[in-house]
């Protein structure tokens, strides 16, 4: 019994230690990013290339997901609102849920699955095959060239993708509304625009800058510091998805509280 307890404590201690090491490493890596992002050369061409590549890679999957989310949330909400005789609020409530929460978070989670793992695997592979060392020997700052450009690209492409997903989700929602209710496109968009306020749209999209940064920095950190050959590359890739998804949800919670404080919902 005692040996089991010791073993459990030992395992818990090791896990806690690696968790705090990860947090500390990520924090230091973030500080280095902030320090280097303002130092020339700015690698604008690399950033543009990554933004296009990451955006195009994720566009179809987030589009399909957004459409389905819009459709499903409407189908779920309609009978509930009908029960309270509030069907007229359907476009507004769907619009607010998509703009404030579902659009940004779902897009960020899919983006994390697709991009964070990709960055982790790519940089991890470059690390274990000494490509990063080769870059350093060439007199090039690999952190600047590989990390800063990717993190910058993820930070600024995710908000664009989120706006796209919100529109696609609202189209999906309209199709669901038409299936259950007789409503014109003009009336639907009018109700959505009437219900969704500035204070809903701006924080919803603004928080995706933070999510984009998380996706980039986590993937880059784990890939850049990968070791132990191909096993390390695989680990960097999978851990990137888990850690970035978790951090997105944690920061979402914090940012929701913050935005509700800054832009309270009108009563």
């Amino acid at each position: 019994m005692a040996s089991r307890l010791y073993k459990f404590l030992d395992v818990t201690e090791k896990r806690l230690q690696s968790f705090f090491e990860l947090l500390a490493g990520l924090t230091l890596f973030s500080f280095r990013f902030v320090k280097e992002v303002f130092v020339p050369p700015y690698e604008v061409e690399e950033i543009r290339k990554h933004m296009i590549e990451l955006g195009m890679k994720t566009l179809p999957i987030v589009g399909v997901t957004g459409f389905i989310i819009g459709l499903v949330i409407t189908m779920q909400l309609q009978p509930v609102l009908q029960r309270f005789g509030a069907e007229a609020f359907l476009p507004g409530s769907v619009g607010i849920s998509i703009v404030r929460e579902l659009g940004p978070v779902i897009t960020a989670l899919i983006f994390a699955g697709r991009v964070s793992s990709g960055i982790g695997a790519e940089l991890g592979s470059m690390r274990v095959t000494e490509q990063i060392d080769a870059m350093e020997v060439s007199g090039v700052n690999p952190f600047k060239f590989l990390v800063v450009t990717r993190v910058f690209a993820t930070t600024f492409i995710l908000p664009i993708l989120t706006v796209y997903v919100i529109f696609i989700a609202l189209i999906g929602a309209y199709i669901a509304v038409v299936l259950v209710q007789n409503m014109t496109w003009e009336y639907y968009t009018g109700r959505v625009i009437f219900s969704v306020e500035f204070g809903d749209a701006i924080p919803g999209v603004a928080k995706t800058f933070v999510f984009g940064y998380i996706v980039g920095i986590v993937g880059a950190y784990l890939g850049y510091n990968a070791k132990n050959g191909t096993e390390g590359v695989g680990k960097a890739s999978t851990t990137s998805v888990v850690v970035s998804s978790l951090l997105i949800l944690v920061f979402d919670m914090i940012l929701v509280k913050l935005t509700l404080w800054l832009w309270p919902i009108a009563k």
Binding site: T129, Q131, D133, V137, G139, V140
Partner: protein
């Protein structure tokens, strides 16, 4: 000239380099032998601070490498070429882009001048036809040649080779060794070559050292080392000969 004095490097409790001191004259080819895990690659990486040594001194052409700041270190690195064990070609770039990379990043050449330099090094490694291929389309020997071409494109004064013939068949290994010697003669570079390959060493070495347990066990020409009656050297080189004959 490269001078190393009392270089130490450990990883946690494992001592890898334990007081290495050596010097390499200009335009000399120095080969570093040693069993696996004796710190040969670590020694190369410490020379240009891809790894930070724990203690010691490294001087390249009179510059104290360990006291340079990053900017000064990057200037020094322009004069250093490094051929990595797996060639370390950038996977996402074509052969042309791999070769152009150090030139675009470090010099302000016109595109015409860059093209000229790329053609020159590709001709030197006899791979002119592969310019638009991706690294994944190249064989192991071709990758090594392109890696070599990328290393010499900036005309470095010092070349570091980490196991240049590992993983290659004997004929390709011999070709790469001869190519290294030809380039050495053409560009008059100082070279430090880490290898297990005795044939490669015989082709290119002016002098050689043998590492054992983190320090230099022996130093001399290949002939001197091969004729030495020291039990470790006899054992080490007989194994090398057996391995070589086995492969042949």
């Amino acid at each position: 000239m490269v001078v190393i004095k009392d270089l130490h490097k450990s990883f946690e409790n494992q001592v890898v380099l334990n007081g290495i001191s050596m010097h390499v004259e200009n335009a000399q080819n120095m080969v570093v032998f040693g069993r696996s895990g004796t710190g040969k690659s670590v020694l190369l990486k410490c020379l240009i601070r891809l790894m930070e040594p724990d203690a010691g001194e490294v001087t390249i052409d009179g510059k104290d490498v360990l006291s340079l700041n990053l900017k000064e270190l990057n200037i020094l690195r322009k004069d250093v070429g490094f051929l990595f064990q797996g060639a370390a070609l950038y996977d996402s770039m074509s052969v042309r882009e791999n070769l152009e990379f150090p030139l675009i990043r470090n010099f302000e050449y016109t595109q015409g001048k860059i093209d000229e330099k790329v053609s020159e090094v590709l001709e030197a490694v006899s791979l002119e036809g592969e310019i638009d291929k991706m690294p994944s389309e190249l064989s192991g020997g071709m990758r090594k040649r392109i890696g070599l071409a990328r290393s010499i494109i900036t005309k470095p004064k010092l070349m570091l080779y980490d196991e240049p013939t590992t993983g290659l068949d004997p004929i390709t290994a011999k070709e790469i060794s001869s190519l290294i010697l030809d380039l050495q003669n053409a560009y008059k570079m100082t070279s430090i070559v880490v290898t297990h390959d005795l044939l490669c060493a015989k082709i290119i070495a002016d002098r050689a050292i043998v590492l054992k347990k983190g320090h230099i066990h022996s130093e001399g020409t290949i002939e001197e080392l091969l004729s030495d009656k020291d039990p470790f050297l006899v054992d080490f080189f007989s194994d090398e000969v057996i391995n070589k004959n086995g492969r042949d």
